[in-house]
């Protein structure tokens, strides 16, 4: 589904990603771990098409198409979803209007009619309940005044609304309390099928106990320096990163 080859990216004239190779197939869950500042969020942003980052080399094929040639909105319509490490507050744009626009853009891309008002409300309610989200949250402006945990929950709510092919969850666990983590992870698992895939960026084994990865990768200084199975995460939890960096 996703094939990243020799990906290099810069921001503010500084190279952050220094040759990433990664392949993700349908039905798989990949965890990406690594120390602060190693480039995990940068990788996520580049996948989603954030214009702040400039890709200098490499390619990203998604379902056989070159993502780097697509606008962020087209990538989203093709099925890429990024759950932001730092969700953005958008005062004045209501969650309802935001979600309706997002859902309808997806449908338009697939040559479908805009969603009817009743279907939309039902969809909103179902997904809200799936994540145990307070009804008044969705009647507010996008993320405005949301607590840290509420913002993260809201990201997964949006993911549930959009039902993407490839979800990239950037530290979705940070800021969530223990119960919320369980609910959100259950939500993510419920959305996981044979057809879609998930990349989970996290620092903690705890999340991976709920969302079980098939592969674990360690990103360090812009490169993937180690890949392995779920046991790699346990090892990292015990030993940290030092043993990988200075062998």
């Amino acid at each position: 589904m996703l094939k990243i080859s020799n990906l290099h990216a810069i921001v503010e004239e500084q190279e952050i990603l220094k040759g990433i190779d990664l392949e993700v197939n349908a039905g798989e869950v990949h965890a990406v771990m690594g120390p602060n500042g190693s480039g995990k969020s940068t990788l996520a942003s580049v996948l989603a098409g954030n214009p702040k980052f400039e890709v200098t080399r490499g390619s990203i094929l998604f379902k056989g198409k070159e993502l780097l040639e697509m606008e962020p909105e087209d990538r989203a319509r093709e099925g890429i979803f990024l759950s932001f490490q730092y969700p953005v507050e958008i005062p004045g744009v209501s969650m309802v209007n935001f979600m309706r626009a997002a859902v309808n853009e997806q449908r338009k891309y697939k040559n479908e009619e805009p969603i009817s008002a009743t279907d939309f409300l039902k969809l909103m309610r179902d997904k809200r309940e799936l994540l145990g989200m307070d009804s008044q949250l969705v009647s507010r402006s996008v993320n405005e005044g949301f607590s840290g945990g509420e913002k993260k929950k809201n990201e997964i709510f949006q993911m549930a609304m959009i039902n993407p092919l490839l979800s990239i969850l950037d530290e979705t666990d940070s800021g969530l309390d223990i119960d919320a983590l369980r609910v959100v992870a259950a939500g993510v698992n419920k959305l996981q099928t044979k057809e879609n895939a998930t990349i989970v960026i996290t620092h903690y084994q705890r999340l991976l106990e709920y969302i079980k990865p098939d592969f674990v990768h360690v990103l360090y200084a812009g490169k993937i320096i180690r890949s392995g199975g779920p046991e790699l995460a346990l090892e990292l939890e015990k030993k940290g990163y030092d043993w990988l960096i200075k062998p």
Binding site: P72, E73, R77, P87, G92, F98, A101, A102
Partner: protein
């Protein structure tokens, strides 16, 4: 001197003006004339007019309807307003003349007068004398003097003590003409003790000629009165609008004004709020969306003369192409005005290198126990928000649009008529989509 032709015109046609107006209105012409001869129009050499050369608008051949001849038009045929079903009370000023044939489906509460300035001056001479040309300071402003010299009619709302006009009143100002015209109109709003009234005034230019409009609005809010005055400008690019609004408030009164410039040519809106009674509140909103070479200049002066009052000003501009925006907000807190709370915010969205915004907040505070603040930002759309929306599949242009509409939201929220809020949001949306090219919805433009 550009003023000379208007001085000559006034002297020559003084008799006509008087003959087609009323004694009460005529009584103020001499004083106005003296002041205008002395001061002329405010020149762009003045600091307050540095970015708006309004004199230039008069440097052309402009017709004046000196005999106050009715323009042969049925506004219902020519025009459908964009804010329909707002109220059961609709009134028209066609150029500077009150249109008295508009049928009202419901009668107004007992004692309320809504109608022409001429009629009011005759039927309520005492009220007229107390307020007309009293709140508006001619000495300070040549445009106000000019208006007072030439004005022949206008629109009056008078609400007596303890009366609440529940449904909003809508005044539709229509500009019509076959040649370039100077229009001088007057609005007088009197709310007596504990009277409540909400008014929406919409400006529309129907014909494609130049109009130079002076408008003087006087608002008197007596003890515990509540006055809402919303203005919506949807003029063509050939209209110069020179508005001067004066508001005076007594104890416990509450005045909300909002000037929404949806489509315009060259606009200068002056606001002068004086809070003269304790525990009064003044809320002033302003929003302009300008592109091409449109010009918006909002000048607000707010005078806190007494303690324990609150004021809140929020002015926003969205500019692109070669549009110019100007905002000057002066707040004066006088020595006795302790416990004043005065807040002023000016935010501007400038989306092209060629658009310009000039902004100048000025706080003069002579009392020591006050809460005052002002905020000023001029910038572009939030790139992070834009990317966030695009990452959800929302088209870049659509995302920009949603963010722009969102930017205007808090000004709309100041409007205390829910149906009008909804209508404004949809008009603003249309404006950003370029679907509101001229005056929106009139039969002539279609």
């Amino acid at each position: 001197m550009i003023e000379q032709q208007y001085i000559d015109l006034f002297e020559q046609y003084r008799g006509e003006l008087d003959a087609n107006s009323t004694e009460g209105i005529n009584r103020h012409r001499d004083a106005a004339f003296e002041l205008f001869k002395r001061n002329g129009f405010p020149s762009s050499k003045l600091e307050e007019y540095k970015h708006s050369n309004i004199v230039r608008s008069f440097d052309t051949e402009l017709g004046l309807n000196l005999r106050n001849i009715p323009v042969p038009v049925n506004p219902y045929d020519a025009f459908k307003c964009d804010v329909p079903n707002l109220s059961t009370y609709t009134y028209f000023l066609i150029n500077d003349r009150y249109y008295d044939k508009a049928p009202q489906s419901e009668s107004l509460p007992e004692g309320v007068f809504v109608g022409s300035l001429q009629q009011f001056s005759k039927e309520f001479p005492g009220q007229f004398e107390t307020h007309y040309a009293k709140i508006a300071d001619m000495a300070d402003n040549g445009t106000v003097a000019y208006n007072t010299m030439f004005v022949q009619d206008g629109f009056v709302v008078y609400v007596p003590k303890n009366v609440e006009v529940e449904k909003p009143l809508q005044l539709i100002n229509i500009l019509r003409g076959g040649v370039d015209l100077n229009v001088n109109r007057r609005i007088l709003i009197i709310a007596e003790e504990n009277a409540h009234v909400k008014i929406l005034a919409c400006d529309h230019a129907v014909d494609d000629v130049h109009f130079v409009v002076t408008q003087v609005t006087e608002i008197s809010a007596d003890v515990s009165a509540q006055v809402d005055f919303y203005e919506l400008e949807e003029n063509s690019e050939k209209v110069t609008r020179l508005s001067n609004l004066f508001s005076e408030q007594k104890e416990n009164s509450n005045v909300v004004t909002s000037g929404i410039t949806l489509h315009n040519g060259y606009t200068r809106n002056n606001y002068r709020f004086r809070i003269l009674g304790e525990h009064a509140e003044a809320h002033a909103g302003g929003l302009a969306i300008c592109d091409k070479t449109q010009h918006i200049d909002n000048f607000a002066f707010l005078d806190h003369a007494v303690p324990n009052c609150t004021s809140n000003e929020l002015f926003k501009n969205v500019l692109k192409d070669r549009a110019t925006g100007v905002f000057c907000g002066k707040i004066l807190v006088e020595r006795d005005a302790q416990k004043t709370q005065a807040y002023q915010t000016n935010r501007n969205l400038v989306s092209s290198d060629t658009a310009q915004m000039f902004s100048k907040p000025q706080l003069e505070i002579y009392a020591d126990d006050v809460k005052c603040s002002h905020g000023l930002t001029t910038g572009q759309l939030d790139e992070d928000a834009l990317f966030y929306m695009r990452a959800r599949g929302i088209d870049k242009e659509e995302a920009r649009l949603l963010l722009m509409v969102a930017f205007t939201r808090d000004v709309v929220d100041m409007v205390r008529i829910p149906v009008l809020q909804e209508r404004l949001i949809s008009l603003i949306d249309k404006r950003f989509r370029g679907e509101l090219m001229r005056c929106g919805n009139c039969a002539v433009c279609k």
